[in-house]
Amino acid sequence: MSTSILSRPEGTTRSYPAYSRPLWRRALFTREFAVIALLVAVIFYSNNNVEFFDGPLTFYYLFLDIAPILLIALPMTMVIITGEIDLSVASVVGLSSVLVGQLHADAGLSIPVAGLIAILVGAVCGAFNGFLVAYVKLPSLAVTIGTLALYRGIAVGLLGTKAVTDFPEKWTDLAKKRVVEDHSFPMILVPFVVLAVLFVWMLHFSTFGRGVFEIGLNDEAAHFTGVNVARTKFLLFVMAGAVSAFAGIYYTLRFGSARGDNATGLELQVIAAVLLGGVSIFGGRGALHGVIAGVMLIGVISSAMRLENYTVNVINIVIGALLVLSVISTSFLGWAKQLWARRGRGSGPSSSETGQHRQAVAATESTNER
């Protein structure tokens, strides 16, 4: 090591391959791929076995239904990857819905102006969450349980028994219009695709996104390498608020009705979809294509089951079971793989594995998870 370290010409020392596994293995053995495969399988099955599923309306309605979840899942994915959670998104949807209604009906503002103000208020709601989580350093689960009630309460309080329903046809139609006549893609997919591209870039192809992952894996180390942990989290909560508010506008226009109780319980659906899409609740892991597939999967299953005349309770059971199975399967597969590897190497005292042992190993390794 006598030559210069800082400015040594390249190529004098050893070089490394970029990947330890071939491309197909990296692509196929992922949670994301599993969700996408399942989605394709369910669509294929439903097309052949569920009456009316291959009809022209199925995907049109499907997209209309899941659009708010798709939208909110984008920032929520990033929030969860940093290891935080936002339970208040559905309340922001409700609040934004009420604001659009009131600003339009009472203050006489046009829909775009009212919408813009609603998005700003949504961003402020997110900023309040973000401030408490990122700068006051309160646990996000507790903070957003509080704001879940607070924002919903403001929405309900502002509106009371009134429901604003007279929105200009131009706008309510737009919410349901198709991008191309006779195709299944409603207009709401346009802003979604724009946002999706933006979020994919932010999360997977920008320095900001790398910071998001690092914060989730090890926020102290991220802080030490110059990632502004607090600001990153703050911005993500702001985005979650703003996007939720946008979803609230869509909600209002799609149903032509501004109500404080719009989208009640949506937060759990969004989180379920995000987790189903392969995002780790402990942060640090996840990808947006998996999340989008996860949202679609829930939508397609619900749609197919409704066509088979199942009521909401059975659908709930299936979605809940899917969520449980999806997390169990990862740990089950890991465990099976370990067992397999050990089998292959022949027997030792370890062939009589006990739960205790697995637990200890898992615990030493589960630091990865956290």
């Binding site: 309306l57 209309l64 309900v156 149903f255 032509g256 009705s257 109500r259 066509l307 709930n316």
Partner: protein
């Protein structure tokens, strides 16, 4: 057969029976599942549909909100069911979905709670809103001696029919009962626990309260349960819309003197027959159209495509044992 349901609005002429019954598919979409009121009406609807050889389905959300109802309307449109019988959680929010279903050839019947008239083919109304409102005001006035403070325990804050009744009740009280003062309206969201706790809060907040009107079956049962276990039992009157099975104990123990309701089963039956009549072309939903509703007799479509079941019926100690729903 229950009193109040035998409509005399329209003679039994012009009925050619359920001839074209064939294979009519009718889907019932209540406000939410697990609501006893709709369980009764939908069960009767099922019986009616099966009586004319149609296929019956009941679907619905687990919470009473319009956004949760829309996917089920969409699904019905996709399936191309012949008729959809829906109780609307919001007059406006369901409209577009219903219109699309209508475009797909589905006949839309609303019952119990209406949408805007242009969004459906027919509304099967249990009783006129004026009638329902007046009935309840009369009952409470009777029970509290036509003077004192009363409060209303409603369902969801945005419930269409509830709000319409509440407005009419306010007007009626103002005009005809100057000594009655409506001091508060609270919302129990058609949830047992919330309604129960709101009743307790009403009594706390208004020590001089003399009566509670709860125009919803969930609310009145919860309020009765609270009253029956409190000091206010017998001192604070309670009336509203309730089902006999839920209210029987409270009528007998004196918590409640009397309450009102039509027969929700008849409402379901009438909605089913109306759906059938629309599907097989007997009626179009225009004013003056006549159709046959099985045991209930014949009905005529009124203004705004509304079919009226009858007037609410009053239940009290003397007659409550005659009913089982």
């Amino acid at each position: 057969a229950c009193g109040g349901s035998d409509s005399d609005g329209g003679s039994g002429s012009g009925s050619d029976g359920g001839s074209a019954g064939g294979d009519i598919s009718v889907t019932f979409l209540p406000k939410n599942l697990g609501n006893p009121y709709f369980d009764i009406s939908d069960a009767a609807g099922q019986k009616a549909v099966e009586s004319f050889g149609g296929t019956y389905e009941q679907v619905g959300p687990d919470a009473a909100s319009p956004d949760a109802q829309v996917p089920f309307i969409n699904t019905a449109a996709q399936q191309g069911v012949n008729a959809l019988v829906v109780s609307a959680n919001d007059p406006e929010a369901l409209c577009d979905a219903l219109k699309e279903a209508s475009d797909a050839g589905t006949k839309i019947v609303t019952f119990d709670s209406d949408t805007n008239p242009e969004c459906r083919d027919l509304y099967v109304q249990a009783a006129t809103s004026e009638g329902i409102a007046k009935k309840q005001v009369d009952l409470i006035a009777d029970q509290i001696g036509d003077s004192g403070e009363v409060a209303i325990l409603s369902a969801a804050a945005n419930a269409t029919n509830q709000n319409a009744w509440i407005d009419l009740m306010k007007k009626d009280i103002e005009e005809n009962h100057p000594n009655i003062k409506l001091v508060d309206t609270v919302y129990g969201d058609d949830d047992d626990q919330t309604s129960f706790d709101k009743t307790a809060a009403l009594l706390q907040a208004h020590p001089n309260l003399k009566g509670i009107i709860s125009p919803t079956t969930v609310g009145i049962a919860a309020a009765a349960r609270y009253l029956s276990t409190s000091d206010a039992k017998g001192k604070v009157a309670l009336t509203g819309l309730g089902t006999p099975n839920q209210m029987r104990d409270y009528v007998k123990d004196g918590t409640v003197t009397s309450f009102a309701l039509w027969n929700p089963g008849d409402l379901g039956t009438l909605a089913a027959f109306a759906a059938k009549a629309l599907v097989d072309g007997t009626i179009k939903g225009d004013e003056g159209d006549k159709f046959d509703a099985g045991d209930l007799g014949s009905f005529t479509v009124g203004k705004d495509s509304v079919v009226l079941l009858g007037e609410p019926f009053t239940y009290d100690k003397s007659n409550i044992d005659d009913f089982d729903f």
